[in-house]
Subunit: 472 residues, 2 copies
């Protein structure tokens, strides 16, 4: 433990307030869509992280690429920070206006720009949420699989390189964003990528923007890959005598190459929490929630293979769900895990970890991390996209008790170091934000971070795009 | 047709020769591994493109990351170009030393650095070829699927964002490179990415390097995803009354979501050429070569679906191959297509196109391009990774007849414009190199190319890394 622990006290940074001339220009164009009201600013100065609120000076509700370009041109002219904002479900402090400036609210940019079912592609505005997208394209027989749990905006999901429950089969935002319209830090509009499934046309600007956390530009249109709704979908739940047994089952599923679509771990604490909130009546033991996509025969074959593996490792009480309603009940357990866990300790906030490790090391990493938190006495829950080697400990801390925050961060740091030692990453899907800057350096080294800073300086020399995030 | 046609006459560029002090320093460290012999230099100044040879001043055979770092540090100190070289199978002039300098031959860096079968990962040096890799890991029950046809080096495949026959199911180098060791243009060694399957840790330096064609650094270690060898593999060939019918069959396969592993088109010209060279005795008609991976039952189900689609569109003479030997015979047709076609016109070179379009537009694009080349009277062949929407026309030109080159480039340009109009790309997998700079601007616009140039200038301010490629 060489690096200092991450802290939830905001780092002291110089604010760069919006000058009067810029405020007037924005007011003139946007009228009531430009707000300086404290309640609005505070709502845009927080996310789901345990950080204190850091409100922007102004919030502008944009409705088009041209709106966004106008705001960024103003910000460029006055060297004022801008922060793209979707639905506020980030977990790492991405949205906090630590240097002041303008929050660009994209939640009204909710149009499906174009849908090409015959090409399995769709182009959306960044404020479209994943649930909205799937509702609006259902008639086409297609779906967009990336599901980070929260009903996040697709802009936010792109900005954090999100993934979630279906990534084990369908990949992450990295694999599923085909192209982007981007407003550059100079307020110019460029297009990266095409609707073709692959391309070798120059530097991969699309992938550079995916995961850049709003620090290199504002994405205003996003072209995504879609998939045919599978002929058959089968969900299953199975409990295990230990977290270890559940994880070892997962490892074998992946090593055998079973094309499982979802493979999620919930520990007993999490199951207890969702039972309490949603009256699900699930057995309160470590659990795998799985889903199989394919033909009727393929799904039957996959699930039989998995059941055989689980049986050998003590899996019990297999419960199958083939109807959408039964599947919804099972997946409610996973989707409500975060909120349910928060409710078990009133007033708490969660410090969530996000390591992702090579699959063979997952059991050891989880077992050691569970032993540590059990020994610490801190309340926690554990969920995992275990098919990817990704899991989240949620340490439940009282925000008014600094010792709890500190303990959580110490456990988090130990967990990250364990993951890095076996070739893993400090963040599988949440991003770096304000919280993991130290971890990023530990993971990738000063050299790689220095290259990232060079890229940032080159594209955004005035440091106006979400400054103070990813690296200091 | 506003942009000038691409030309195979090398653009006039100022050479930046290796100064004596640098030559001596390289001689001192590398001895006979540093060569100025004309034959060696000429061998390193060409690739499979129709460009004339442009030899480097020196060729250095590197055997380690430290060797590469030493050469690049020297190049940085003296502002001399360096060009990474694998096996020389590029198609777009990537390897030509248009400004002189040093060719860094990586073909002796042929070690498997580490294999972690339980994690489905491997780390290789850049000179390992795809065939070597698959031979060396076969004992593990795993394989690396990316197959661009040529037995390319994995360094070259990474640098061009290659894909090939298996991409429809397994993705391209973009999806399958997990991490990299890179020597930066300043001769520093950095590490990008981890062995975890996904990550949100900062800018995606891995994806920025993948497809950068040697212009941003030299990759000296590459960490790749592997896959379990499928339980069952079934290859099939089927002929069609027209190219159109073969392509429409493909479109339906993709739109239905059949998880086909390979779906390759060969036109009658190509089949005729491979029959002539390899005595394969295949029916000389437009043909789909397909492969299915999965369980025995899954493969049977997929192939039945595909056969039903093909039957409706006039597919005939289905031939199945389940043994490795029978599959090898079928795939020989695809893998020898390029060389076989070249042999039909002695002394010719091929101008190959590489557009990739959204799947529903593939039939129209191919049909119009075939009609055009038929009308032109130029010899050609047509192959396609049609499952991805990617196809290659190979226009066979006599390099001594400028009118043939010009005609080929005119047809290529018309084909690219057709692809761009429907949302496609000018290059699905070969890269830009010297050849497609104009196309890149047409495709993505001045704004995006200007962003690429900004990135290049920031990382390589002395413009020593493979200068003169991708953009001028």
């Amino acid at each position: 433990m060489n690096a200092p622990l991450p802290s939830h006290v905001l780092p002291p940074m110089e604010r760069r307030p919006v000058p009067a001339a810029m405020h007037e220009a924005l007011k003139a164009r946007f009228g009531e869509r430009c707000s300086a009201a404290l309640a609005v600013r505070e709502q845009h100065g927080r996310d789901e992280s345990p950080f204190d609120v850091a409100p922007p000076d102004l919030v502008v509700y944009c409705e088009s690429t041209e709106d966004v370009a106008f705001v960024v041109q103003q910000a460029d002219a006055h060297a004022v920070p801008v922060i793209p904002f979707g639905v506020g479900s980030s977990l790492e402090g991405h949205l906090l206006a630590v240097q002041g400036g303008v929050s660009i609210d994209l939640s009204r940019m909710q149009k499906i720009v174009s849908l090409e079912p015959d090409d399995l592609t769709v182009t959306v505005q960044p404020g479209v949420t994943r649930t909205q997208l799937n509702n609006e394209i259902r008639h086409s027989g297609l779906f967009f699989p990336i599901d980070p749990g929260a009903d996040a905006s697709l802009g936010g999901m792109t900005a954090t390189r999100a993934s979630g429950t279906n990534a084990v089969r369908y990949g992450t935002m990295r694999e599923n964003v085909l192209g982007l319209t981007v407003v550059t830090p100079q307020g110019e509009v460029i297009r990266a990528g095409t609707r073709a499934r692959k391309s070798s046309a120059g530097y991969d600007l699309t992938r550079l923007m995916v995961g850049s956390e709003g620090t290199l530009g504002v994405m205003t249109e996003i072209t995504l890959r879609l998939y045919p709704l599978p002929e058959a979908v089968l969900a299953a739940v199975c409990t295990f005598p230990s977290v270890d047994a559940a994880v070892r089952t997962t490892i074998q599923i992946i090593q055998l190459g079973v094309p499982i679509a979802r493979c999620e771990l919930l520990d007993a604490n999490t199951v207890r929490a969702v039972n309490l909130r949603d009256k699900l009546g699930l057995t309160e033991a470590p659990m795998l929630l799985m889903e199989f996509h394919g033909s009727e025969a393929g799904v039957a074959e996959q699930s039989a293979t998995v059941q055989a593996i689980a049986d050998e490792l003590g899996g019990q009480g297999f419960e199958w769900a083939t109807t959408p309603e039964a599947r919804t009940r099972l997946w409610a357990a996973r989707h409500h895990a975060y909120l349910s866990a928060l409710q078990t300790k009133p007033g708490c906030r969660a410090v969530t970890t996000d390591t992702c490790v090579p699959i063979s090391r997952l059991a050891d990493c989880i077992n050691e991390s569970v032993a540590e938190v059990d020994a610490s006495g801190l309340s926690y829950f554990l969920v995992g996209h275990v098919g990817d080697g990704n899991f989240h400990m949620g340490y439940l801390v009282d925000p008014n008790v600094p010792a709890e925050r500190e303990l959580a961060e110490q456990l988090n740091h130990q967990l990250v170091q364990r993951a890095l030692k076996v070739g893993g990453t400090c963040t599988g899907e949440h991003g770096v934000g304000l919280h993991k800057m130290g971890f990023l350096v530990e993971e990738t080294g000063e050299g790689a971070v220095s290259m990232m800073k060079t890229l940032k300086r080159a594209l955004d020399p005035k440091n106006i795009m979400n400054p103070g995030k990813i690296f200091s």
